[in-house]
Amino acid sequence: MEKPGVNYCDICNVYVDEALSHCPLCAKKLTDTPAPNQLYPDVVQNDFIDKRSFTNDLFLFYTFLFIGGSILLNLIFWEGTPWFIVVAAAVLYAWIFVRVCIVSDVFPGAKAFAQMAGVMGLMLSIDYVSGWYGWSYEVILPFILTLGIVYIDFFSWIHKSLLRDNLVYAIIFVGLCFLPLIFYLTGITHVLVPTLLSTIAGALTILGILRFTIRHLSTELKKRFHI
C-alpha cells in the first residue's frame, strides 16, 4: 500500500494526497504534519470571518433604534411639530453618505446623485417641519443641482471618464437641471437667479458633451441603450 507522496485511508480504500491531513471522504485523520498543498493555497479557518456584514448589521440596528426612538419621543411629548422627520432624514442622509459615498465603489456619478438626493431630502424635511416656506425647492434645489452637474463635469474632465463611467449620470443631471426652469415657468417657484444658474449649468454641460464627445456619443448611447 506504500506509495510516495500519499497516505492511505483504510476506511475508504483510497490514497490521499499527503498535503491533506484528513481523508476528504470520511474525515479520518491521516497525518499530523501534512506536506505543503501543491494544488491549493492554505486557508486558515480563524482568518476567514466576514466582519463587514456584522458592522453593517450593527449600524442598521442603531439606525432603526434611533429613528424609532425619536418617533416615540416626539409622539409622547407632542407639541404640534413632527420634528422626528428631520431626525429620520438626517440619519438616513448619514447612512447614504457613509454607505454610498464612502464605503461603496460605485461610479462618482452615482455617489453625486446619492449625495444630492440625501441633502435634498434633508432640506425638504427641515423646510416642511419649520413651516413649509418653500426655500428648499425654490433656492436649495437649483443650487444642489448646479453643484452636482459642475462636480460631474469637472470630475469627468479631470479623469477623462465621461464616456467611460459617467455619461448616463451626466445626462440624468442635465435633465434634472431644467426642473427648476419648468417649476418657474409653471408658477410653482418664483426665484429667478438660482433657476437661471441651474439652467445655464445644464445648457453648458449639453454644449460640452456635444463639443467633446460627439464622435463617440452615438456609440456610447447605442451601448447603453441597446435592446
Binding site: 500519499v6 485511508c9 475508504c12 480504500n13 483510497v14 490514497y15 490521499v16 494526497d17 498535503a19 491533506l20 491531513s21 484528513h22 481523508c23 476528504p24 471522504l25 470520511c26 474525515a27 505543503p36 498543498n37 501543491q38 494544488l39 491549493y40 493555497p41 492554505d42 486557508v43 486558515v44 479557518q45 480563524n46 476567514f48 466576514d50 448616463v168 456609440t219 447605442k222 451601448k223 447603453r224 441603450f225 441597446h226 435592446i227
Partner: protein, 426 residues
C-alpha cells in the same frame, strides 16, 4: 457579432450577471499543473502577449439601461498568486475590471473565469495559448501542431460571434419552459465564498473498461451513479416525490460547426424519481436512454430556439435592467436551478501538442456552486488519467464518499484523492 468596440452578451450569458449578483457562483476554474514551479513574471508576460489575439476576453462588464454589455477594457490584467478558496464570485474579482483571473500557485497555472465571458471550451483555448506562450518564453522548444491558437494570426469574426443566433430558427420547434421541480441536496451551508474541492484521480483505461462493461457512455454512467448516491445518502430524500435530476452541459460546437470562443452550450437534463426498490442498474438504463434522447440534434435545436426566443421577446427587451435582474434571478431559481439537482460537466479531452504535454502533469476543471445546488461534478480526462472533481458549498461529504467508494470498494479501482482543506483542521 461585435459592435465596434463592445459586445452584446451572448444568448447563454444573458442571465449570468443577474444571477451572479445574488445566489449563484457563475465562475469556473481551469488548472494546468506543471512539473515545475511557475514563474509569475513570465506568466504575466505571456498573458500580455496573447491578449490582443482574444478581444472577447479583453472586456469588462457594464450595465446598460436594458441589458448588460461587454465593453472593451484597455487596462492590463494582472497575474496574481492564488489565495483563499477557488471559484471566487464575480463581485470578488479584483483584476482591473477583467472578467477572468489568471493566477499561479506552486506548479499550477490557474484561470478562473466568469461564465458570462466564455464557456469551458472557449476558456481552455485562451489558457492553452497562454501556457504555450509561457513555455516559449521559458525557452522550451514548442511546436503548435494546429492545436493551439496562433497569436500572430488575425482575429476571426467567427470567434467573436454569438453562435446561438446563427443557428436560431424562428419558425422551428422550441422547448417549452415547463420542467419538473427537482429534488435539491440538503446540507449545512458554508460561507458563500467557501468552496471545498475534492479530486478523485483514476486510471483512464481501467475506468473506461468498467464503464464499457455496462455499454453506456461516461456521462450516463457518472450521472446514474450520482443519482444513486444522492438517493441513498440523503435522508431528506426518503419519500420525496421530486425526481433527482442531473444537468449535463453539452458543447454545441460538435453538432453545430462554430469557432466561437464565447458561450455555446446547451443542457440535457436526465433523472428520475428513485424508489426504495430502484437499483443502480435501473437508473443506468433510464439515464442512458434519456441522455441519448437529450443529445438528439432536433432536441438541442429546439433548446437553442427557446433560448433565443426568450432573448428576442419584445416585452423582455424593453424591460429595464433592474427589473430584469429581479425577474431573472427569481425565474432562474424556479426554471433554471430549480429544474436540476446537480450539474455534471464532462469536459472533452483537451488536445495539446506533444511539445506541451511533456511539461503538463494534470489538468483540473472545477465549477462554482450555488445556494440551491451546493454540489456539482466535473469529469476530465488527460493523458492516462481520469479526474472526477466535486465542488461543494456544504459541510457534508457523504454523497462524494458514496460516489468514490463505488469505485474504490465495489469496482476495485485505485483512486488518489486531492483537494483543499482548512489548514488548521482539527
Amino acid at each position: 457579432m461585435p459592435d465596434r468596440d463592445w459586445y452584446r452578451l451572448d444568448t447563454a450569458a444573458k442571465i449570468y450577471p443577474s444571477i451572479s449578483q445574488t445566489h449563484n457562483n457563475t465562475t469556473f476554474r481551469l488548472d494546468f499543473e506543471l512539473y515545475e514551479e511557475v514563474d509569475g513574471n513570465l506568466l504575466q508576460q505571456a498573458l500580455v502577449r496573447i491578449l490582443p489575439r482574444f478581444p472577447s476576453f479583453c472586456v469588462t462588464l457594464k450595465r446598460g439601461l436594458f441589458w448588460y454589455y461587454l465593453d472593451t477594457n484597455h487596462a492590463i490584467p494582472v497575474v496574481k498568486e492564488d489565495t483563499g478558496f477557488p471559484c471566487r464570485r464575480l463581485k470578488d474579482f479584483v483584476n482591473n475590471g477583467f472578467l477572468f483571473n489568471v493566477m499561479y500557485h506552486r506548479n499550477n497555472i490557474i484561470m478562473e473565469c466568469f461564465h458570462g465571458l466564455a464557456d469551458g471550451a472557449g476558456a481552455i483555448e485562451f489558457l492553452k495559448t497562454m501556457v504555450y506562450e509561457y513555455f516559449v518564453l521559458k525557452g522550451y522548444p514548442m511546436e503548435n501542431e494546429g492545436m493551439v491558437m496562433d497569436t500572430e494570426e488575425r482575429v476571426s469574426q467567427d470567434e467573436l460571434e454569438n453562435s446561438f443566433l446563427k443557428y436560431y430558427d424562428n419558425k422551428g420547434d422550441y422547448t417549452r419552459l415547463k420542467q419538473p421541480v427537482a429534488y435539491h441536496i440538503m446540507g449545512t451551508p458554508m460561507h458563500p465564498n467557501e468552496i471545498f474541492v475534492t479530486h478523485g484521480i483514476m486510471d483512464l483505461k481501467q475506468f473506461l473498461g468498467k464503464v464499457k462493461q455496462r455499454g453506456v457512455t461516461v456521462s450516463a454512467y457518472v450521472a446514474a451513479l450520482l443519482i444513486y448516491c444522492i438517493a441513498s445518502t440523503q435522508v431528506e430524500y426518503m419519500g420525496s416525490k421530486n425526481p433527482i435530476i442531473i444537468s449535463v452541459p453539452i458543447d454545441l460546437r460538435s453538432m453545430f460547426p462554430s469557432d466561437t470562443l464565447r458561450n455555446f452550450v446547451s443542457f440535457a437534463n436526465v433523472g428520475m424519481v428513485v424508489e426504495k426498490s430502484t437499483t443502480f442498474d435501473d437508473i443506468v438504463a433510464v439515464v442512458s436512454a434519456q441522455l441519448a434522447e437529450g443529445l438528439k440534434k432536433e432536441r438541442i435545436h429546439a433548446n437553442i430556439n427557446k433560448n433565443v426566443k426568450f432573448e428576442k421577446n419584445p416585452f423582455i427587451r424593453i424591460t429595464p435592467l433592474f427589473l430584469k435582474n429581479m425577474v431573472v434571478s427569481n425565474t432562474y431559481r424556479l426554471y433554471g436551478e430549480g429544474s436540476y439537482t446537480m450539474l455534471l460537466s464532462n469536459l472533452k479531452t483537451t488536445r495539446l501538442p506533444d511539445s506541451m504535454r511533456k511539461y503538463i502533469k494534470e489538468i483540473y476543471y472545477t465549477l462554482g456552486v450555488s445556494d440551491l445546488n451546493p454540489l456539482n461534478c466535473v469529469v476530465v480526462s488527460y493523458e492516462d488519467k481520469m479526474i472526477i472533481t466535486f465542488a461543494r458549498g456544504i459541510e457534508e461529504t457523504d454523497i462524494i464518499r458514496k460516489f468514490f467508494l463505488h469505485f474504490s470498494q465495489e469496482v476495485g479501482l485505485e483512486i488518489e484523492m486531492r483537494g483543499n482543506e482548512w489548514k488548521n483542521q482539527a
